[in-house]
Every structure is written in structure tokens, then in C-alpha cells.
């Protein structure tokens, strides 16, 4: 078996199998995140949520998927056909390729690259293209307004996400995601870097265009924003891409601040549970907060959104970069380069 894996063909088959082993759970997770969202929102609004298809409505995501596939794909006459169809594929594809560098456990990672966190940051900053291209190619004013809002919003919040990542990197001394998790062996970073944890999470909400920052969709003012002209599978890809991005941002929060696959305490009953399970549990916790926020807060006004990004988060995160590096230098806690 090991000799077979060493051959080029064996290696190729192994990598394809690993990709499928990551992709399929992520897609199932996306399907059940839509279900969880409807159930959580329903519970918070004292409703029942989906409860007809299957036991407890558990087959609802598949019913929705089949319904979307059966629908007609409408392409507006004035649109740019190629770009119009490319945008949802781009959104969905980008949401999936980021998973290549996510470590699910010690050594359980498809591509253990040196600059993993930069790769994640790059992929998440590319997500805006799907939205901009969709808005422009639709040739519709609502879609265009949504795309403009999204472009400005995502570029603004990326800046503070970048600074938050820098504070974490200062404490780790490596850009490798597995090193980042291992550096939290004794203390998860959300304790010493608590303000940055909050800033990161709120910026993640803005980066994924989720409530209360879902202005690019803004169904009450610009109908559905950038995907107003989309239907059927092209709409489904946007929808799946948004949810996959939510899971991805939760995974990033988990890796940067919640200790990745590490158990909360390094003692017996906690260490029996394998790392990937802990990782999934922490992601679920973050996702629950995503849904909780959606059920709780009204949508921001656009100028308030920009104010929060540029006038609150940017100075705060910059200050924390200076404070963290100062503290690390002062107490001699600087990590030694591996």
C-alpha cells in the first residue's frame, strides 16, 4: 500500500480521495447549515421551522436543492452571458478551494504550506469578485447597487482582518496554520487577545455579508442585491457559496483564536475525543453565534457600517498590533523562529 502511494498515480489517487474526504463533509455541512439556520431562527422567534420533509424536517435541505435544480435558469437579455454564469461558479469555487489548507487535526491537512494563513486571507479577499461580477454582468440597477456596496464593505473590513491576523502571527512566529494551532497548546488566543477575537468575528460577519451587515442583499431596499437576477442552479451556487464561506470563516476563527483541534483541557476525558471532532464542535459554536446574531440585530445603516470598519476597528486593531508587539518585546515572549 505504501509503495503504491509513493508512485505518481498512487499519489494522485490519494490526493483526489483526500479532496473528496474534505469536500463531501463540507457540502453536507453547508446543506445542514441552511437547515440549522432555519431551525435556530425559528426557535428564537417561537416558531417550529421546517418540520414536514422527513423526521424533524431533516430532509428539507435536499428538497430545497432538488427544487432549485428543477427550476429554469433565466439569463437576462441585457446581461453579459459569460460573466453572468461565471460569477456564481467563482463564488462557490473560491469557498471550496480555501479548505485545502485547513488543518483538521495534527497532520490532518491536505496542503501543509508555509504561508497557509496568507492563502486563506487571499482566498477570502477574492470572494468579492463573484459579487462584483454578478452585479455588473446582470445589467440591473439593484444588482449593481448591491455589488458596489459589497465591494466597499469587503475591502474595508479586510483591513482590520489583516491586522488581527498580524497580532496572532506575532504570538505564533509562523504563517503555518498547524503551527498557529500548536502555539495555543497552553492558552487559546481568545484569552490574551480577546478584543481582537471580537473584532475578527464581527469583521467575519461583514466579510461574509451576513446580518447585520447584509447590505449587499438588503432585500427591503434593493430587493436581493447582487443576485436579484439569478435563478435555479446559478442562484443555488451563490447560496451554497455564502454558507460555505460562513463555515470557512468559523474555521478561521477556530484556528486563530479557539485552539483549532485542541481540547479545552489537556486531561483525560477531553483528550479521549479526537481532534477533528473538537474542531467541528468549535466551528458549530461559531456558526451558532452567526445565526444568533442574525436573529438578534437589525441591519446596519451603510454609513454606520463604514464608520465601524474605518474609525473603530482599524485604529483598535492597529493599536493592538503595537501593544502586542510591545508586550512581547518587553517581557521577552517573542516566539523563536522554528
Amino acid at each position: 500500500m505504501t509503495e503504491f502511494l509513493a508512485t505518481p498515480i498512487g499519489h494522485f489517487i490519494f490526493v483526489v480521495a483526500a479532496i473528496l474526504a474534505i469536500m463531501i463533509p463540507v457540502l453536507i455541512g453547508v446543506a445542514y447549515l441552511t437547515y440549522a439556520e432555519r431551525k435556530v431562527l425559528a426557535a428564537m422567534q417561537l416558531r417550529k421551522g421546517p418540520n414536514v420533509v422527513g423526521p424533524f424536517g431533516l430532509f428539507q435541505p435536499f428538497a430545497d436543492a432538488i427544487k432549485l435544480m428543477m427550476k429554469e435558469t433565466v439569463i437576462p437579455t441585457g446581461s453579459n452571458r459569460l460573466l453572468f454564469l461565471m460569477a456564481p461558479m467563482l463564488t462557490f469555487g473560491l469557498a471550496l478551494i480555501a479548505w485545502a489548507v485547513i488543518p483538521f487535526g495534527p497532520g490532518l491537512v491536505l496542503a501543509d504550506i508555509n504561508v497557509g494563513i496568507l492563502y486563506l486571507f487571499a482566498i477570502s479577499s477574492l470572494g468579492v469578485y463573484g459579487i462584483i461580477i454578478a452585479g455588473w454582468a446582470s445589467n440591473s440597477k439593484y444588482a449593481f447597487l448591491g455589488a458596489l456596496r459589497s465591494a466597499a464593505q469587503m475591502v474595508s473590513y479586510e483591513v482590520s482582518i489583516g491586522f488581527v491576523i498580524i497580532t496572532v502571527l506575532l504570538c505564533v512566529g509562523s504563517l503555518n496554520l498547524s503551527r498557529i494551532v500548536e502555539a495555543q497548546q497552553d492558552l487559546w488566543f481568545f484569552v490574551p487577545l480577546f478584543p481582537m477575537f471580537i473584532v475578527f468575528f464581527i469583521s467575519a460577519l461583514a466579510e461574509t455579508n451576513r446580518a447585520p451587515f447584509d447590505l449587499p442583499e438588503g432585500e427591503s431596499e434593493i430587493v436581493a442585491g447582487f443576485f436579484v437576477e439569478y435563478s435555479s442552479m446559478s442562484f443555488a451556487l451563490f447560496f451554497l457559496g455564502e454558507y460555505a464561506n460562513m463555515i470557512l470563516m468559523s474555521a478561521m476563527t477556530t484556528i486563530l483564536f479557539l485552539g483549532g483541534w485542541l481540547p479545552p483541557f489537556d486531561i483525560a476525558p477531553f483528550t479521549w475525543i479526537p481532534g477533528p471532532i473538537w474542531f467541528a464542535l468549535k466551528i458549530c459554536l461559531c456558526l451558532f453565534v452567526f445565526l444568533w446574531v442574525r436573529a438578534t440585530f437589525p441591519r446596519y445603516r451603510y454609513d454606520q457600517l463604514m464608520r465601524l470598519g474605518w474609525k473603530v476597528f482599524l485604529p483598535l486593531s492597529l493599536l493592538w498590533v503595537a501593544l502586542t508587539s510591545g508586550a512581547l518585546m518587553l517581557f521577552g515572549w517573542l516566539p523563536t523562529p522554528a
Binding site: 460573466l83 504550506i113 508555509n114 504561508v115 496568507l118 492563502y119 486571507f121 487571499a122 479577499s125 477574492l126 468579492v128 469578485y129 462584483i132 461580477i133 455588473w136 449593481f144 455589488a147 458596489l148 465591494a151 466597499a152 469587503m154 475591502v155 479586510e158 504563517l175 454609513d303 454606520q304 464608520r307 523562529p337
Partner: protein, 231 residues
Amino acid sequence: MIATLAFYLFAAILLASATMVVVARNPVHAVLFLILGFFNAAALFLLAGAEFLALILVIVYVGAVAVLFLFVVMMLDVNFAELREGFVRYLPIGGIIGGILLVELLLVGAAWTVSPQAPLLIAEPVPGAVTNTQAIGRVLYTDYVYLFQAAGVVLLVAMIGAIVLTLRERPGVRRQNVGAQLARARDETLAVMKVAPGAGLTVVPKPEPKREPEPADHGGHGHGNHHGGGH
């Protein structure tokens, strides 16, 4: 073998998309081809083993600069027919300028001599066993930190210049003052009334905006002295 093939593939796409940036009639398509070009340049960096530069190229140019570029270009209302109109008229002067540039490039290329030390540098692009992220960090922040900071100051001055040029103070605009809103106490805005049935309200004493801190002896009926109703 695969690396060589990949190099030629990425280089070919890079050159093709760079050509399309100039040739494409629709400016939005031109920017999208520019982004494709950035991606292929990043892939070439990756093949050269410079993973940090590759990802920084994607993050800075594709993730931020090109987004703003696309943002501006999408809002342009370009008349394509009008753009092509003066093509023949401007062809001679454009051709002359292009020809001069080409001749200059050829002259520079002909006079180029490769230093004998250059192959030695290629042999070890990164000193020692550090990753190239650490090597770049060492060069930028340890060896040349003052020059690096000076470059930052130049960019800051450019940014301040752009802001000064475009900033205009319009009179009569009411702005939200979040600090004042958050600093507002309950007493300044709210008075709890007890209204007897059928009696209605007489004049409500409006609390002054700035008051002396009251002696804290009100206990459970802190707003009692503001009640104006019930007469």
C-alpha cells in the same frame, strides 16, 4: 518536467492576458484580464519558490487594488463607437511613439551585460535554511528598516495629499455624533409619568441638558421629582 510545462503554461496565459488588457474593447473585460494576469504572475512566483511574494501579490493587487479598479471602471459610461473614431487620425503619432520606445528597448537590451557574479546569487536565493517569508522580513525590517519606513512615509504623504485634494466641508450638514449619543443619560431624555385615568397631562418640565449631579438619596423612586402629571 511538470514544473517546466507549468511554467510555459502560466507564462503563455500571462502574456496572452496582458495582450488582452490592451486589446479588449470593454474596459471591464480589460480589468478582468489584468486580474488573470496577476494570478498567472503569482503562479510563476510559486514555481520559483517565492510563496510569500505570490500570495502578497494576490492579496494586495487582486484582493484590493484591482477591486477598486474594477469598482471605478464599472461605473464608467464609455461609448465604444466614439472611442474607435479617431483611430486612423491618431495612428501616425501613436506609431511614432511606439517605434521610438521599441528602438530604445532594443538598444538597452543590446547593451545589457550580465554580471559574472549573477549566477552565484541564483545559486542561493535565500541565505541559510530560513523560509523566504523570514528572509524577506529580515531584509525589510532588520537590514533596511529606515528605508522601508521612509517608503511608508512617502505613501502616507501621497494619501494625505489625495484626501486634502478631495475633502470639502459643506456647511449645514448634520452629522451623527456617536460619542454624544452614547454619553446621553436616561434622565436627559426620558421622564416616567404617572397619569391618573381621565386627568391628562399638564406641562411637562423638560430636564435641563446639563444638571448638577443629584444627591443619591432617591432610592427606588429616582424619577419621582420629575413627575409633572396627575394634577
